[in-house]
């Protein structure tokens, strides 16, 4: 199985997104160049973290016009899996692959820390390896992660079960301030209505090696592998 990681100008999480499936699953991963028009038959597209176009104007606003994004959208429309981490999530929202927008953290500060999440859905192709309600720890590192959408959209996300991860208090720690960016309804990750596009602010691709901390990101990659096995 092959993962394709899109490198936009200013992407910097592309390296971690490439290494994760290789090191955690032993699968293939290649870079896809933003100026190309060809997804090279990859099975899964990853929109990685970083600061595409410097995050100038709005995070993700300029990258969504890259030539390769047309192919990514087509791949998603065909039902192909797309995983968007951090800046990728911002790009996916700007591109209309996912609803809503990611605004500046309520603290107005960039925040890099491990964070607790609750897995809200295990019936998606990205999360079947987790347990329902499981609390996991993943790193975050972003300045624009405040998920926002209008009430109708939020209701639809809730009603259709599109909210996959929420920021949650760690049972072992004080409950205050567990939402690191002021996201509405503590939303950390969502899928589209068809369930084949996942966007999330935390970084599972940075949590696949126990040497570096909790390896709670591995299950996400395994889930994808189990569904998309080729």
């Amino acid at each position: 199985m092959t993962f394709g990681i899109v490198t936009f100008p200013g992407s910097n999480g592309d390296y971690d997104a490439l290494r994760a499936p290789i090191e955690a699953l032993g699968e293939h991963a290649i870079y896809l160049w933003h100026k190309d028009h060809d997804l090279q038959n990859v099975d899964v597209v990853i929109l990685p973290g970083g600061f595409s176009y410097g995050d100038y104007l709005r995070a993700g606003a300029i990258a969504r016009f890259s030539p390769i994004m047309r192919e990514v959208v087509a791949h998603a429309e065909r039902g192909g899996p797309v995983v968007a981490f951090c800046n990728g999530f911002q790009i996916a929202c700007e591109a209309g692959l996912l609803p809503g927008a990611l605004l500046r953290n309520a603290s107005l500060k960039f925040v890099c820390a491990p964070i607790s999440l609750r897995v809200e859905r295990t019936d998606t192709l990205f999360t079947s390896g987790y347990e329902q309600g499981q609390i996991i720890t993943l790193p975050i590192a972003h300045g624009d992660g405040r998920y926002s959408a209008d009430d109708a959209t939020l209701e639809r996300l809730e009603g259709d079960g599109q909210i996959v991860f929420r920021y949650a208090p760690d049972p072992l720690q004080a409950a205050e301030a567990y939402n690191p960016n002021g996201s509405m309804r503590d939303i950390a990750g969502i899928v589209n209505a068809q369930g084949n596009v996942l966007g999330m602010m935390p970084h599972p691709e940075r949590a696949v090696d126990p040497l570096l901390g909790p390896a709670d990101g591995v299950a996400l990659f395994e889930s994808i592998l189990n569904h998309v096995a080729v």
Binding site: A61, I62, C93, E94, A101, L103, R104, A106, S107, L108
Partner: protein
């Protein structure tokens, strides 16, 4: 073709949390500016645009806003002024 200088305001939709506006208001209060009731922070863009006339410069800029300069999900835009640079 002439060159026009078009100023654009892009503002977060009212009703959305505006932490920056709130931070500005708090900071102004702590600096002693007690008379400030409410602050909103948006973007101010100045574009130099080549167009046949003012109407075209305005229309073209409107298209730029709709496509790129403002996020329709969270922001409103207005063309504040068109002048000759």
């Amino acid at each position: 073709m002439s060159r026009y200088r078009v100023a654009v305001h892009v503002a977060p939709r009212r009703g959305l949390l505006d932490p920056q506006g709130k931070a500005v208001a708090d900071a102004l209060h702590s600096l002693g500016f007690g008379g400030v009731a409410d602050v909103h922070v948006g973007r101010y863009l100045v574009l130099d645009v080549d167009a046949r006339d003012e109407t075209e410069a305005r229309a073209e800029t409107g298209r730029m806003c709709a496509q790129l300069l403002a996020n329709p999900v969270t922001e409103d835009f207005e063309i504040a002024s068109v002048s000759r640079p």
